[in-house]
Symmetry: C2
Subunit: 276 residues, 2 copies
Amino acid sequence: MAQPIVDTSKLCIHTITTKPWPIETAIERFSAHGVGGMTIWRDALTGRDIAATGQRIRDAGMAVVSLCRGGFFPAETDVARQAAIDDNHRAIDEAAALGAPLIVLVCGAVPKQPLPLSRQQIQDGIESILDHAASVGVKLAIEPLHPMYADSRSAINTLRQANDACAAIDSPWVGVAVDVYHLWWDPDLEAQIQRCGAMGKLFAFHICDWRTPTEDLLNDRGLMGEGSIPVRQIRGWVEQTGFNGFNEVEIFSNRYWAGDQEAFLAKIVDAYLNHS
Amino acid sequence: MAQPIVDTSKLCIHTITTKPWPIETAIERFSAHGVGGMTIWRDALTGRDIAATGQRIRDAGMAVVSLCRGGFFPAETDVARQAAIDDNHRAIDEAAALGAPLIVLVCGAVPKQPLPLSRQQIQDGIESILDHAASVGVKLAIEPLHPMYADSRSAINTLRQANDACAAIDSPWVGVAVDVYHLWWDPDLEAQIQRCGAMGKLFAFHICDWRTPTEDLLNDRGLMGEGSIPVRQIRGWVEQTGFNGFNEVEIFSNRYWAGDQEAFLAKIVDAYLNHS
């Protein structure tokens, strides 16, 4: 089991977690709470000067941890797959401008398309953007998604598969984002975290909790401590690999987005310190 | 890939699939469509003479395929675990009275309780009812449930885990129910179906489909052909093991339950013949 967390220096919060806030408010309020880093969702950058926004985050004393999200490579036509690749090239440029060292990949899936075909298209897509990512110094993190998203969001649904994909692609620029929400149920999780770390592929660690009942497949994530995920235990497995990056709070929640974001931020910090 | 289905002799329908119908109506209408078997949910037996209901099904030319459901063994207290075991003993007696050769086990989980502990409680629970099941000739099928139910419905979430549990329990009375809805996403599925068959543990096969978008975690299953599950391919893997039991249509669907059940039944038969 990991040691208790004593401060917010390794706390990173995703902009989508406090979605109602414009990014400028998030920067100001996160910084006021001593948050150590931010992961930026691309929609939060709409209409902003990206480089200036990255500087604003650093000037507020925080790290730009990653850009969310690239991926969604599988598609039914060559044209659609090329459009996805083009969009990933844009994401790489945005990450470079922002000063983000990492892009999280939600790899994609197509309803009714065989999963093995989608997995091949994912590998092909990642390989097609690798040189560009390397040329600007941006890494790519495959995020295995919960099996309930295998129809339309990702054909990579376990850490074992993500590790296997990294081994197949075999590039220092490609690794994994481990998100407890997607992976907590997996009896192979501890072993695959060890493997991921031993491969040098553990690039990011995302936390939240699984509520009971979960009332929405997408937007009913809980704060750490509210649900069934053994967040601290999984953090211990991650840290045993030598990982010393950020603990990224990524919560999609219609119920929290509907409330006061300042009160929610205080709850995030409390849950981070006491239940992570 | 399995051969196309040519008739309804191996079609079994779960009473919950046409939940608005009382069981007497389901027996009459399923039989009229040439359905070969029924799996009975325990709620459908409320207020009925169980033995007479089983006879009524057989008199209508159908097999009683299984009773749904036992299980839910994990609990926080000894008293609650004993209550679950007592209820499973009642389910065994009901299956025997009905003439059902099999009980499907939804094994259970407790929110916030560590999954390994729940798994041990599941094994202990099954072992505690084994002698009773054997004494009346009723088999037990562990149904691995989709990982989105790991918080509260089952701590057994892959076929590998179910196979492992069968190997640990090591009784001819305990096997597995393979449900495509829970397992279709698993990259190990084909190999674990082969293993399950080689162990002599493939006791039941349930079919439906995964809709996009799925709007409810419990009650938005689709008809075969409506979604992303390669039902025919998985049926082929199952049949390659030598399985020649029923293909059981188990659909929980608020949208179908809200409509005309006779029209839904015709759609089930059509989907069975053309998309299974």
